[in-house]
Amino acid sequence: MKTLLLSGWTSNPAAVLCCAAGAALYFVLFGASRRAWFLAAAEAVVLLALASPVNALADGYLFSAHMLQHILLLLVAPPLLLASLPPTVSFPMHPVAGWLAGVGAMWFWHAPALCDAAAASRPIHAVQTLSLLALGSAFWLQILAPCESRRLRPLPAVLYLFTACTACSVLGIILTFSPVTICSRYMHPVDRLGIAGLLNGWGMTMNRDQQIGGLLMWVPMCFLYLCAIFSQFARWYGERDAEPTI
């Protein structure tokens, strides 16, 4: 365990550089403000996903760690990123496109062939990471667009989030109960870090690992959506004058 936590940190220069460049660009464009803390949080989440032991485990060891990475990149980092932008920034995007981006990202990258390809090849993995961040941002834009008036109205937003939650749950259900292996890369991990024994000690088997991956997508992801749904109700009931009602 200790080995994993200490030596599991991968030096991921590309990710660190991108984060640094992102931060620099942010300060050049928008200057320093309290919103920058959201950017810091977003980058911390990205680094947690890409440089921490989560990444080490996702890299050939555990499908479930790889799923955690996806959740962080698709559902946690993008909302923080959007929250860091000043209200003057706006990107036009149709809600259906946003929905398809968020849900499609999950389905697309879990087609067995693509899942294996991303686990095997560095460039494809990089494309995957960037696409998750971009598609995640497109999804959350409907809920958290920097400019208030570009956000979905609360009740349509609830429907948007609820259907997305259902669509991801279906994929989670498939992964959890699938009798076949989705990502065969994880079947025979190359034990680079010497932690195979540790994982065995956790009782991690191939089947169980995939089940955890599916359940992560099914249950905790739905809670993230549920929290977002609550924020929409809070917004709806908190609305006062000068806004159209539904």
């Binding site: 609830v158 498939i174 699938s178 549920l226 109700f233 009931y237 004058d241």
Partner: protein
Amino acid sequence: MNEATLAPDSLAAERDDAFRRLAWLSTVDHKKIGILYLLTALVFFVAGGVEAIFIRLQLAVPNNTLLSPETYNALFTLHGTTMIFLVAMPALFGLANYFVPLQIGARDMAFPRLNAFSFWVVPMGGILLHLSLLSGSAPSMGWFAYAPLSEKAYSSQLGVDYWALSLFVLGIGSVGTSINIIATVLCLRAPGMTLRRVPLFTWMNFVNSFIVILALPVLNAGLAMLLIDRRLDAHFFMPSGGGSAILWQHIFWAFGHPEVYIVAVPAFGIISEIIPVFSRKPIFGYEFVAASTVAIAILSLGVWAHHMFTVGMGRTADLFFVVSSMLIAIPTGVKVLNWTATLLHGRIQFKTPMLFAIAALVQFLCGGLTGISHAMAALDWQTKNSYFLVAHFHFVIVGLIVFMIMGGLAYWLPKITGRMLSERIGKWTFWLMTIGFNMTFIIQHFLGFAGMPRRVYTYPDLPGWAWMNMVSTIGVFFMTAASLLLVWNIVASLLWGKPAGDNPWDAWTLEWATTSPPPHENFHELPPIRGRRPLWDYANPDRPDPVVGPVHAVEPAPPDKTKSAVLLFIFSETGFFLVLILAFLFYNSTPQPGPGPKELDLLKTGLFSLCLFASSFTLWRSEVGEHNRDNGSMIRWLAATLVLGGVFIIGQGLEYWGLFKSGVAVNTNLFATTFFTLTGFHGLHVCIGLIALAIVLGFAVGGEFKHRPSVALKAVGYYWHFVDVVWVLVLTVVYILPRLR
């Protein structure tokens, strides 16, 4: 669709005529339909109650021989099925039917004829279920119909088929009602009655209807699969033919767990109406009660597996479902706390409805706490198959739901009949019911701890079991007396009751703003609506409630009701197809022995699929024609759509014929079963779409759309495009994915 094209005055004339002749049989008035629902529920309550009495009589003493094991099993199955599908759901739908339109100041439901249809399938479903008795073989596999016991090899007679058909039509009716409720709440609210101001009973029925339209199709897909197994010798759920009995459990509980909330959430709604009125306070934390309902609705859809801890899903899956199931306790707890906080410092009036609400609150708390104990997999393993579980779910279903139906009747019957019920008889009813209920079911917790298993027709004379069972049985007779008193009270009030007046309880929601019983059109005029208690504001102009939501907002026009209904129907159908597609994926993830997907002719099907996809395009052109008021273009493109759809169906027919000729039938192997089921149901939907399009075409040719715009084409169009999208998925899953392997 036709309805939208009929002028309101012709509808009204037709209605008046119907009133004179067959007023109750042909009614489309939501109030009469509501009453019919309640009466149907009462009839089946008698049936389910008598079944319960016999069950408890058989269990009153050890080694009893009053009932044979077969009879006991049949009664126990019928009791469960009847009480859920023919009592709780119709009673709650009846109250919703009567009071949702009144509470939002509407004249009727959005689709009065659909409403009548949804009601009439309830008696039909009930008759189908009981026809099994005439066939000499009542279903006796339990209301959960676990495979393979429910399969032909183990239940060879017709009982299970009647049971499945009955639930199938009841499911269709429930989805119809729910679409209707949602469309009513979305489209027919009175001016000023924004969704933020609707009474909680209406809000909860609104949210609940979404659970119904998502959960019932899952059951219906499972029932279709079960019937295919039984009648066409397939093996969906038969392990002997490679099927999975566990899949039935997944499907059943994916419906069954939301079902608990389908009957509980409207009961929550009734509590939320009664407690504030008889505490003389507005509800505490309306927003929390309303939003927590949504949380319950969403969580309820994803936690079914906690019914299956003892099946052996593995520790990992158990762990996640332990956590997610426990989380439901949070929104439910929020509700209980809010109701309690409403009682706090209230000037509580202990009238009959309030007594039922308070008892339901306490009993539901107990049922909820034992529920949490079942959410813990380790404890669940010990108690699941015992009377502890029987006690738990009866605390929820009787302690909360039946109590709240009774409370709701005590509260609203004066509005329905125009006459007060007797408070004295009402209190007797309440106390007999409460004593009887608790006598019957509290002791069953201890019976469970003492090890008595559930689902047994008799038991040995073990220490303590006999007297506890006797106490439990005696309690049933108190509840029987209470039920008889309730009926007597209603009859007596109809005969000699005091006139109720418009607002006997001094309540604040709109149903009390009209006469009792309300006139046919419900309201002559409505008070201004600026908050959640319009009648309070009206009676107390000097200290009104704060305005809810923006004051000077311009309200957007409500969505079109026909389009909304079709979209909701599509939402519901998605659930149905999802189950069939998942079943296909599940059974074909490893190649089955015998014929497989690779034998299908992708090229031929691909060409016919192009026809179907092209038909979406032609339909869109037809819609454009309609939009431009170009009747000729609309008709031409619509006809082209019909031809293309027809060609696709012919293509499907050819493919089926080819498969039959090469000896592939629905029972050949699991690939054939899932293939024919999935594509067959899709083909059925294409045919329904074709019929709907043909009807629209007929109207168009008849010049129906020349003079005024109609949503008919657009609405049917949504459905047709949906059917095409489903085919994209089916084509991918059935024809393309297996080739990539």
